[in-house]
Structures are given as C-alpha cells and as structure tokens.
C-alpha cells in the first residue's frame, strides 16, 4: 500500500515534505549533478535582497564539534540577478521554488517581493528575519515582535503567494513570534536559523570567522530546534517548516512528530548530498511500516 507524501504550505503544493535549507543548496544548479531536483518537495534558494550584495570577508565557515559555524553574510546577485541567472534554470524543473528574502532595511523586504512576484517560478517567500551574520536587518527584526510584525505585514501586502517568516532561535518566547506571524497573515513558519555562536583560535587570538561571530548549524543544534518546533506548534495552527541538524530520515521524522509539516535539510547537504533523497525515502518507509496513509498522520503526534 502506497502512502501520500503530499503536503501544502498555504497555496503551495509539495509532492513530499522535504525541502532544503536556504544557503545550503545554492540556487539549484550547484547540486543538480548529484541530486534529482524533481524529487524535492521544494527548492529553497539562498537569501535574495533587492540589490546585489557582497557578503562577508573570509574565513566564512568553521567546523565545530557536531556542527559548523557560518558567517557568509548573504552575498547574492540581488533580485534582478537572480531572475536573469537562475530563474531560467529553475523553470526547467517541476518543483516549487521558495525564495529566501532579506533586506538591510525594512523597505527592502517589500521591494524584493515587488521585483520577484511576477515570476511564476517563484512559488513562495521565506522571510529571513534571523540571519545572525549581517549587521543591518537580519536578526534585528527577528528578536523584537513589533518590527517583526511590521516586516511580515509589509510583505503580506505585496504578494498573494505564501509567505513564511523564518524565526530567530535566540528568543525567550518563540511562541510570541509565531502568534505575531499568524496575526500578520503568514502562511507558515520556518524554524530554525543557525544559532549565534563563535569560535576563537587560541594561538592567533582571532575569531575563526572573519565576521567574528556566526551561526551554529548541524547535528549539534537539533535538540534545540525540536524544542522550538514543539513550542511553535503549541502556539499556532500554521504549518511549520522544521530544520536544524537533519542528517538522517529519523531526524526529519522527529521534527514532524514534534509538529513540523515540512522539513528542510541544510548542513547535511555539504556532508552527503544523498541526504535529501534518503530522507524522502525514509519518511515514506516509516509511514508504511507504521501503517499510516499520509504524512498528516504523524505531524504533531508527540505524546507530550
């Protein structure tokens, strides 16, 4: 008996719950030789702002125990560059594209949507309100509910497509942000971004990242992400895209049981590009073994 892997994020249909975490999969072409992009539930591309952006100096990443630090600083071609360089490529595939958007100032969030919204290839927007690595904007908006709400409302006003605020993990009450997102008309919540962190070289006394601090990702943070997803699931009815250290199918299933409708594979892409495929297969296998009909049968079923 086959199971139904389909899910919906607002009006966006995904053939399975598995997408990739923004910034860990480029814009699509980078992994096309190794991963069958048509198998993905959705492709989430690296953060896009209205203008081209140069990002941070190097070193930009550093390996830690059970994870890695990154302070890439959101380099990117800007909305127009994205449309010219990558949309033609992405068009070829039968897979929804979630564009991760960010801005230096509040208005940017509106501008970038205005620039992208006419593209049918763009299926939804993940609003990055939680980048630990850019001085301007980024996590500033993610840690104060007022400015957070203003950004979400602004974006809501610019598009009919699903909008998915990506929450900052470093807050005391994540539920408040989830509720705020819901009140501002968001279609889903993405959680979590990498966690503000730092490593210092004890010989040079210099931070290992040129940006000094960065974001921690990978298996190390999974238990933090699971808790945040559980908290958000209790605070809102919105679908959740869960991520943070998903390396094995079991990790993805754990996120779904905690309350995630969709899951994103991030750092694991660097370690093993077959991860997304294995996760999709693993979720299906689990559902069959447990006698479920569809993914809906396991979402938020944690006995807690």
């Amino acid at each position: 008996m086959s199971v139904d892997l389909k899910i919906k994020i607002g009006s966006m249909e995904m053939k399975n719950p598995v997408t990739v975490a923004s910034g860990t999969f480029g814009y699509g072409p980078e992994y096309a030789d190794l991963v069958d992009l048509n198998r993905l539930g959705a492709i989430t591309v690296k953060g896009i702002s209205p203008e081209e952006h140069i990002g941070n100096p190097t070193p930009r990443t550093f390996e830690t125990r059970g994870g890695m630090l990154n302070a890439i600083g959101l380099p990117g071609p800007g909305a127009q560059g994205f449309i010219e360089k990558y949309v033609p490529f992405l068009k070829q595939y039968d897979v929804p594209v979630i564009v991760n958007i960010w801005g230096k100032g509040m208005e940017d969030y509106g501008t970038v949507v205005e620039m992208l919204d006419a593209e049918d290839t763009v299926s939804a927007y993940e609003i990055n309100l939680s980048c630990p690595n850019v001085k301007e904007g980024g996590s500033a908006f993610g840690t104060d509910t007022d400015s957070f709400s203003r950004v979400v409302e602004l974006v809501r006003g610019k598009t009919q497509k699903p909008i998915i605020p990506k929450l900052a993990p470093n807050v005391s009450d994540i539920g408040a942000f989830a509720k705020a997102a819901e009140n501002c008309g968001a279609d889903a919540i993405a959680i979590m971004n990498s966690y503000p962190a730092m490593a210092i070289n004890i010989d040079t006394l210099k931070p290992e990242l040129a940006n000094r601090s960065g974001g921690l990702s990978g298996p190390a943070i999974k238990p933090i992400a699971i808790k945040l997803v559980w908290d958000v699931a209790k605070a809102t009815k919105l679908p959740i895209i869960g991520m943070g250290g998903i390396f094995e199918p079991e990790d993805a299933i754990e996120f779904m049981i905690a309350g995630a409708t969709s899951v994103a594979v991030g750092t694991a892409n660097f370690v093993d590009p077959t991860t997304v495929g294995r996760v999709i297969d693993g979720i299906e296998k689990y559902l069959v073994e447990k006698g479920h009909r569809s993914v809906a049968d396991i979402i938020g079923t944690v006995k807690a």
């Binding site: 910034g23 860990t24 999969f25 480029g26 980078e30 992994y31 030789d33 190794l34 690296k46 140069i54 990002g55 100096p57 190097t58 070193p59 930009r60 990443t61 390996e63 125990r65 059970g66 994870g67 890695m68 990154n70 890439i72 380099p75 990978g218 298996p219 750092t267 892409n269 660097f270 370690v271 093993d272 590009p273 077959t274």
Partner: protein
C-alpha cells in the same frame, strides 16, 4: 561530477610523512582532468562532520589516487583506512588546469602535495619543460623520479639543502628566469600560499602566464556554500570566485590577494 562509495585499494606510506590512498572509483576516475580534486568524507572523523578536499594525483578508468600528509584532525583520522574500507567521495571537482598555450614553454612549480596535483598535467603536456619543486627537506619533495621519467627537467630546492639547491623555489627559479624567453613561459603552480603568491607576483612583474591552484578551506566543495571564495578582478572592480567551482585554478592576473 559524481558521488561514489569508493573502496580503498591501497593505503600506505609514500615518502616521508606523505601517504598514498588509492580508491576504486570508476565513474569518477574516467572523468578526471589534470588539476581537479575530490571531496572526501572521512569515516572515523567522529564529531567533525565536513568533507576534506584532495587533489587527484593519478586517475584512470579504475579509480583515483591521492597523496596526503596527516596535518590535522581530518587527515589524521584517515590513517586507519585499510584496503576494503569504503569512503564516500565526490568528484572530479573544480576547473583544473587549461590546455597549454601554443608554442609556450610549460614550467611546473610545486611544493608539498602540489607535486601530486601537477602530475597528471605534467603527463598530459606535450612539451616537457622545467619543474621547480620546493620543500623543507628532501622528504617533502614528492615524485621527483616520476617527473624525470616523463621527461621533465626537475630542479629541486630544499630549506636544508638535503636535496638540490638550498633555499626556496624562488632561489632556483629567479636566476633561471633571467635566461628565458619570458613571454613564452607558461607556469602551472600548486603549493602553499606563499609560493603561489611569489609566482603570481613574478608573472605580473615579468609578464608571463601563471596558472595558480588555490588552497582554501572548503565546506560543500560544489559551489553552494560560498565558503571558499577569493577576490577575482572584474572590469569594474572585483567579484567573489569560488575555488571549488570557479577554481581552484586561476591565472595570476585574476587574483586579488588578501593582506
């Protein structure tokens, strides 16, 4: 670019601290161009998760070989690999070295694993020119006999004089350069950053071509994470270029060196 679970065929000391690892990887081996690398997932790396890049020393329809030196966590945890063990590799990666220019005199400059990285190029090049190899001691200068057999005029330099001229590669290269038809030179360089910089500077100062293989820390190895970027000149300034995808080989004039 392919991902393959490769079986270790050979793994033993090669020279000095360097070890050779030969892997059965038919789908990758047959695609290799000189100057490309593989991205290797190290079993036993414990709680460190990232792959490590290694230049391809030799490649054929059967698989690939790399030469490496245990210098840190990753390379040290590779030493227990025994014939039969499986390692997951992605490759061939990077652009590799371009075809040699018409009528050019190819010159190889290398240090450390750079010698390995240049071997396939040395074999492919029709004209065999001069090869300047530098190292701390004789032990650090790899594959000298192999390059000679290919017909290269090998000029080793060692800091301690244990092989060839005592000093740095430049101590052998600079005097030699005086007697050359400089515009006709085409350098293929792979080694530590100071060596790359020294050769890049000379290429620009004297006006010859130098292809430099850049060594930057990498995460994804396929162009997705933007970890391995260096500044590349553009008409109106500079842009980031990814060593794993746009490189690792760049011509000296493309590179803006960081202080």
């Amino acid at each position: 670019m392919k991902q393959e679970k490769a079986t270790v065929l050979e793994h033993h000391n090669f020279q000095g601290e360097y070890r050779i690892l030969r892997l059965a990887a038919p789908s990758i081996g047959s695609l290799v161009k000189p100057g490309q690398f593989i991205h290797l997932q190290i079993p036993q790396l414990g709680d460190r998760i990232l792959r490590r890049p290694f230049s391809i020393y030799k490649a054929d329809a059967e698989g690939v070989s790399i030469l490496y030196k245990p210098v840190g966590r990753g390379t040290e945890s590779m030493t227990p690999l025994t014939p039969g063990s499986l390692v997951d590799i992605i490759g061939p990666l990077g652009n590799g070295y371009p075809e040699a220019g018409k009528g050019k005199l190819p010159v190889l400059v290398a240090g450390g694993y750079g010698n390995a990285a240049l071997y396939l190029k040395a074999k492919q090049l029709k004209t065999k020119g001069v090869a300047f190899f530098g190292g701390r001691t004789a032990e650090d200068i790899l594959c000298v006999e192999e390059f000679k057999e290919l017909g290269w005029d090998v000029r080793p330099t060692t800091n301690d004089g244990s092989l060839g001229i005592e000093g740095l590669v430049t101590d052998a290269f600079d005097p030699w350069l005086q007697e050359q038809d400089i515009p006709a030179l085409e350098l293929f360089v792979c080694g530590p950053n100071p060596m790359l910089k020294a050769m890049g500077d000379r290429a620009i100062e004297h006006g010859f071509t130098a292809w430099l293989s850049m060594d930057e820390n990498m995460a994804c190895g396929v162009g997705a994470c933007l970890t391995c970027v260096i500044k590349r000149k553009t008409d109106d300034g500079w842009e980031w270029a990814r060593c794993c995808k746009d490189g690792p080989v760049f011509e000296s004039r493309e590179i803006i060196w960081e202080e």
